[in-house]
C-alpha cells in the first residue's frame, strides 16, 4: 500500500493543492496585515542643526587659569552590598572648577582618565577598589565638555560629575585622584 503524501487530501496527489491554498490564504492575510500596518504609521519630519564656529583667534599669548572650587561627594551608606543581590549601588558626586581666560574664547574640558579608582585609605588590595564608570560635564560646559568664556573672561561653574559603582562594602575614607584639563579650542 502506497503511503499517502502528507500534503494530499482524500487521496489527491496534487502537491500544489493544499499548499497552494495555504499560500494564497497566507498572502491574503499578510497583505491585510501589511496594509493595516502601513496606514497606522505616521511620519513627522524635523530639522537637525549645528553651528560650527571659526576657531578662536587668541589676541596673543593668552593665560588660562583653573581653580578647584568645591567637591561634593556623597555620603554612602552601604546597607546592601552587590553580593546580596538587587541593583548595584552607585555613588554620584560633583566637582566644581572655575576658570579665567580670554573673553569669548571656547575651551574644551576633559578628565585625565576614565578608569580612575577610588580606594580606601591605607588599602592596597584590588578588592577594595572601585572604578569610576562615567564622567559627565555640566554647569557651564555642555555634555561634550565645551564651554565659552563670558565677556569678562570667566567661567565660574565648570562641573565634573562622577559616577562609580560600589562593588565592595566600604565605610569612610575612600579617595581617588584625577586631572581635569582645559584646552583652548
Amino acid at each position: 500500500m502506497n503511503a499517502r503524501p502528507p500534503w494530499t487530501r482524500n487521496g489527491s496527489t496534487d502537491p500544489g493543492g493544499v499548499r497552494g491554498e495555504r499560500t494564497a490564504l497566507g498572502a491574503f492575510v499578510a497583505g491585510i496585515l501589511v496594509t493595516a500596518t502601513l496606514v497606522l504609521a505616521l511620519d513627522t519630519s524635523f530639522t537637525i542643526g549645528m553651528q560650527l564656529m571659526e576657531p578662536t583667534r587668541l589676541a596673543g599669548p593668552s593665560t588660562l587659569t583653573l581653580a578647584h572650587v568645591a567637591t561634593v561627594l556623597p555620603v554612602v551608606t552601604m546597607s546592601t552590598s552587590h553580593a546580596e543581590g538587587g541593583a548595584q549601588p552607585m555613588a554620584e558626586g560633583s566637582i566644581t572648577f572655575a576658570a579665567k581666560g580670554e573673553a569669548g574664547a571656547y575651551i574644551t574640558g576633559s578628565v585625565s582618565a576614565a578608569d580612575v579608582r577610588f580606594h580606601v585609605v591605607g588599602e592596597v588590595s584590588n578588592a577594595m577598589y572601585f572604578p569610576v564608570v562615567q564622567w559627565r560635564f555640566g554647569g557651564d560646559m555642555d555634555p561634550s565638555g565645551v564651554a565659552r568664556f563670558n565677556s569678562s573672561g570667566l567661567l565660574a561653574n565648570l562641573q565634573v560629575n562622577v559616577i562609580a559603582p560600589l562593588v565592595v562594602s566600604i565605610s569612610d575614607g575612600s579617595t581617588g585622584s584625577a586631572t581635569f584639563r582645559l584646552v583652548y579650542q
Binding site: A36, I48, M50, Q185
Partner: protein, 172 residues
C-alpha cells in the same frame, strides 16, 4: 437535494481549476478595500504627532575631529507630543539610519557632518534602535525626546549645518 450534488461538485472543480484567477481576484479585492481599511483605521485609531522642537547640537569650534552628543534629556534634543488611542503602545523610530547635515548645498565632505546613533528618552523607553511608550488614559504622550551624535571632522568648514530627519510612529 441529491440532484444538486453534481452541479455543486462541478462548481467546486471549476473553482479549483481557476484558483490562480481567484488569488488575483482576492488581490484585486484587497486593493479595492484599501481606502476603506485606511479610513476604518483612521477613524478608530487616529494618531497625531506634534513637533515641539527640532534637534540641535552645541556650537563647536571648527578644526577639531570630535563627536558631539545631544542626549535625549538635553535641552536641545528633539521633542514631540502625540495624541492617539488611549492605552495603545507605539513604537517610534528614526527612518534614516544616518543623515548628513549640510553646509549650503553640501557637495563635498568638508560641508557635511554625519549624524547617527539616535537615542530615545523622556516619555520614550529606549529599546534597541527605537523608543516605545503607551498613550495615557486620555490618549496623550508628551515629551517624547530624541538625541543623536554628530561626527565633526577637522576638515569641516565653519558655518550653520542643517539636515532633515523623519520621526516615525507606529502602533504596536
Amino acid at each position: 437535494m441529491r440532484h444538486l450534488v453534481p452541479h455543486l461538485s462541478h462548481g467546486l472543480r471549476c473553482v479549483w481549476r481557476w484558483r490562480g484567477g481567484l488569488c488575483t481576484l482576492l488581490a484585486a479585492l484587497l486593493l479595492t478595500l484599501l481606502p476603506s481599511v485606511s479610513a476604518w483605521a483612521k477613524n478608530h485609531w487616529p494618531i497625531a504627532v506634534t513637533l515641539v522642537q527640532g534637534l540641535s547640537f552645541p556650537p563647536a569650534s571648527q578644526g577639531l575631529t570630535l563627536n558631539y552628543v545631544t542626549l535625549p534629556l538635553d535641552a536641545t534634543a528633539a521633542v514631540f507630543n502625540s495624541v492617539g488611542q488611549k492605552g495603545q503602545t507605539i513604537n517610534c523610530t528614526i527612518v534614516q539610519p544616518s543623515v548628513n547635515m549640510l553646509l549650503g548645498a553640501g557637495g563635498t565632505p568638508a560641508t557635511q557632518i554625519l549624524v547617527d546613533t539616535w537615542a530615545f528618552g523622556g516619555s520614550l523607553l529606549d529599546v534597541i534602535g527605537a523608543g516605545q511608550a503607551s498613550f495615557s488614559n486620555v490618549g496623550l504622550i508628551n515629551n517624547m525626546r530624541v538625541g543623536a551624535t554628530a561626527h565633526v571632522a577637522a576638515a569641516n568648514l565653519p558655518g550653520a549645518y542643517v539636515g532633515n530627519v523623519t520621526f516615525r510612529v507606529l502602533y504596536l
